[in-house]
Amino acid sequence: MKQAMTPEEIKERKPYLDWSLSEKEYDYISQKLLHRLPNYTEVGLFSAMWSEHCSYKKSKPVLRLFPTKGERVIQGPGEGAGVVDIDDGQAVVFKAESHNHPTTVEPYQGAATGVGGILRDVFSMGARPVAILDSEHFGEIKADPVMRYKLAETVKGVGDYGNCMGIPNLGGETFFDACYQGNILLNAMCVGLMETKYLEQGNASGVGNSVMYVGADTGRDGIHGATFASADFSKEHETQRSAVQVGDPFMEKLLLEACLELIQNHREWIVGIQDMGAAGLVSSTAEMATEGGAGMELNLDLVPQREGGMSAYEIMLSESQERMVICVKAGHEADVKEIFDRYQLHCAVIGKIIDQPRYILHHDGQVVCDLPVTSLTSDVLEQPGEEKKPARLNQPAAKWEPVVKDAGAILRQLLAQPTLADKTYITRQYDSQVRTNTLVKPGSDSGVLRVRGSHKAIAMCADTASRYVYLDPEIGGQRSVVEAAANIVASGATPLAITDCLNYGDPNDPEIYWELHHSVMGIAKACEVLATPVVSGNVSLYNENDGQAIYPSPMIGMVGLIKNYDHTIPMKPQNLGDYVYLVGDLTDNFAGSELQKLLTGKISGALDQLDLAKLHRTMEQLLKAEQTGLVASCHDLSEGGLATAASEMLFGTGFGLKLQVPGPISQLFSEPAGSFLVTVAKEKAASFTKQVPQARLLGEVTNSHRLEITTDDQVLNQNMNDLEKIWKEAIPCLMKSKA
């Protein structure tokens, strides 16, 4: 094939600038790595592999701050997904991934392929995906029909893919704020289970071993997806969008079953396996070769292709979905092929491992690429960003004091805010029970899944606290982890580890880099204190629209372990007359709260420091109480504070709560980190308070179906049926509005 430009023309005309490769990087590659000018195909490969999406060149220095080790960590970051021991030779495998740009451009397919991609990451490790979670951030939908359409399509995309695969959706979050109007966020998380002995890694080695390609044919889908995802998303790009990736969950289901059959029954045939994600074939193969310390030679004419006339560059960078690469031991190619044939999947040997550390590509009878393997992967120039504390943080606004005249009216308004309102419109489109292990469906603090054949269960959640991160990246980062841990603990599970998706604006802006750096510091610190190492994650930068960045939005996906699922704690009160306790504190700082947004239309102010050690101690005590059967129900306070949490506990039950809360009524709407409402049977009260000394008795569970809270200055007394109606109808009503 003819190269579109000669190396000299490339040097002169610098087309790589459009592909987000800088002149400095180009010069470094030519002078220091290759000692020659790269050809057209090679420059294309470099621009994709050196994009932030593949190389993490900007974020790597910051990511090193994360604690990644722990007693239970079997595999930390760097592989398809993190692997954490859950005893008995079993492990939980999980990772989250962002698909923000594709979802913003084409919500249905973007969301669907986001789910598809993260599933492959997990099953390429040898684990069976058992749950999907999704974190979605939208702009305001009230006055924006396009945003409503995007919400509907995103949800349909997440649902259709997971439903078709038969993997239950166990939770997520849906958040609304104007900062996502031009750039929505879709982070998908997958949790898998495996026998530890089947652990697979994405590496390729052993001279003479084969490189096999399996799954869907390669087409021109999503070419430059990786660089596209790493570039500011402005109007200009709207013309580039024909290369949409289309998901085929049916093919993925076959691929999943075939890969697991191969790994579990014939592990000895293979060296490593990896899915083709961002930057497709080049990224998967180059990373596998780097990982295995090997060289690789591929013949692109052997790659199954859906369209004729694709260039080497297109074949290597295609982001067609549902494809995997396997390094197969010499002599077992036919055996492997037999398995994939049986699932009616394409499978072809496309190359082999060679004895020099080079990455060589043949196409149309020519060598189109001949590079040192590591030049594409580990030799990337790291680019720690310049940092500058954002101006808004130098002088945070004065402390805001809410005036709450009618607490009932405020509560009703809060419950109608889409961020707080019932998400059944969304979760009802997701199958959450398929494969019959779901103990707690979406709608509680965490989703809980039984580990079939054992008495164990795993709990999981996905949380972001972007408003808090915006007001103070470091404390906000800590809060994100505390919020996730609180959800896990509320369900009765011991937090094990986290995965993350770091969603930020343009890192070349020093203020945004500072946000990234400081929020990661906060996350790292909280993970250290709460003993939840980071085992996998993903970075999504350049979340901007016409120069307007989103709030810094690190998403935390946490998984916890319940050793005996009889001790799974429900969110709803169970018995009339049970005592109600507050574990943790309320606060008079409303910076970043839903109340502040409701009453002032914006958020501002400084955050209070968190006492992480104390929060950790409290959670441990609460957990102990849960595991010894002292707790009847538990819910953590998050957006909307105690009043909202209490309402959520009562919805769908016939119960009421009668509480006495010292302090001004406004505090019922404050959002302290890591506080809980807990109900306890009266006869267990003494043991409970002994176990959790700081628990404060607030009142008890009634059968009036009213929420009655007396404070120092006001009484809140609301009929739960009225509140439930408001809460339930808010999102369906907004979605139906014609405005």
Binding site: V105, E106, Y108, Q109, A216, G219, R220, D221, R241, S242, A243, V244, Q245, V246, G247, D248, F250, M251, R306, E307, S320
Partner: protein
């Protein structure tokens, strides 16, 4: 009043898993090896006044019926009447 038919199909380079599966079924399950290509599309029949037809159809198609990221369309007038 006119009756208009708007045909919507995937752009040629967009992968159509449904079309691929149907073709495979026709060839293998039904044994019609002689069928060599299947593409799937949708159509919408609209009744609307003849005045300003072109502008109306264009707007309705591009704003609602067609996903311009991955689909293309064309339309024809089926019949015209008063």
């Amino acid at each position: 009043m006119s009756r208009v038919r708007i045909y919507v199909t995937y752009k040629p380079s967009v992968f159509d898993p449904q079309g691929a599966t149907i073709l495979d079924t026709i060839q293998t399950a039904l044994g019609h090896q002689e069928v060599s290509q299947v593409t799937v599309g949708k159509f919408f029949d609209l009744t609307l006044p003849a005045a300003n037809l072109d502008a109306s159809v264009k707007e309705i198609a591009e704003k609602l019926l067609v996903n311009v990221n991955m689909e293309t369309y064309r339309y024809e007038v089926l019949e015209e009447a008063e």
